[in-house]
Symmetry: C2
Subunit: 238 residues, 2 copies
Amino acid sequence: MNRYMEIYADLKSRILNKTYLTGTLLPSENKLATHYQVSRETIRKALVLLLENGYIQKKQGKGSIVLDVQRFDFPISGLTSYKELQDSQNIHSQTLVHSLEKIRISKEFSAKIDLPINTEVWALMRQRKIDGEVIILDKDYLLTAIVPTLPIEEAENSIYLFLETKKQLAISYAQKEIVVEKVTEEDQQLMTLREEDTHVVVVRSRVYLEDTRLFQYTESRHRLDKFRFVDFARRRHA
Amino acid sequence: MNRYMEIYADLKSRILNKTYLTGTLLPSENKLATHYQVSRETIRKALVLLLENGYIQKKQGKGSIVLDVQRFDFPISGLTSYKELQDSQNIHSQTLVHSLEKIRISKEFSAKIDLPINTEVWALMRQRKIDGEVIILDKDYLLTAIVPTLPIEEAENSIYLFLETKKQLAISYAQKEIVVEKVTEEDQQLMTLREEDTHVVVVRSRVYLEDTRLFQYTESRHRLDKFRFVDFARRRHA
DNA sequence: TAGTGGTCTAGACCACTAT
DNA sequence: TAGTGGTCTAGACCACTAG
């Protein structure tokens, strides 16, 4: 752990602890530098993390204002996965692996995702149950070249967890798209849909590793009434 | 303009120009520092901007890899407003101001947005037409305490543009929520909905100023078939 | 005017990648 | 081993806020 990460974690916990109250100012950068026995630039790196994650707002000549962090709950934003979400929200749910098989990318599919025809991938389909109803249908495609084995027990939990801890793969960034589409026959069969459900929310993601290789394509299909996406956004000044 | 912003802009344009090609490495930080006649830390600040905006991917011991920026088009993410979006996408559209009036926050409404009861706000309702059809219905509420006057001509364009250039208000960050809801009677009357449109996508935003004051609450209602949200996300390491 | 955050420097050492 | 990015320092000057 780097020094500025440690300081970030410490300040963050103090904000969550209410040691630093909403609306008040953090100690100045110089004071923090003295307190943590580091240079001011190191403090500033920690503060950038607080800023980016919505814990503080900085104002030149004034200081760092603590934000109301309670309001910014439920961060599906970023690359948070279903399992992480579930843990943080105490949602009682269950994952059913519907199918797991090796396939090769067809011509039509190749156009949709940007993988060459015939690339071998794991095709994983999972149903996410909440209170006995299948609310989400997850369709994942992972390159077998990067993930040779995919135990079915792992698929029942978080794939990200498995890949990051056991396979030492560094997931770095993703492109995500949210649209609403008409339900397919597959949705009808595999999800708990009501009569009024003519559409589902579809979240498509392409996930890349640190070395910029694409290794996962995901299609997550959500029942309309259970879908919610929350984002904390800072205005780009560039 | 700061030096690192200038360097960011320059490197960004070179990437878009194809001076630096997708998949190749940028010159090393030391070389860039020599070339731009600045210290390495200044170069690093410029590279952080490229990183955050999805132009490069860095790898320790290797270098900064140029990403395929074409793929990351259509950024509704962040705080981009409708007008900015329209400009960058060449969409032919039209904005109709349906109503603009001063109102006071009611008890029920106060619970939904976090403003005290009786706060005076501008209530602005706009219809967004594309190819003759009203696709989006925007409902904005702006604090009159912060924006005393709101000319109707300005409302027909971008409110952000008006506030930032003419009123010198610094918009800083927002919390955004996307859900799907049943159409209301109001939607039926003010939007071009088809028989199958039983739901609309609702994007709710709370927008804050640099001094952390909330000053705008927005509800943007989109026809299902025309809604698309794209996001570039980096995995949080904290 | 004193104190704050914003920018920038010149140098150091470390961890990682490639050869 | 040479070169890369990652971290950290101690200091400087500037722009902004508030009393």
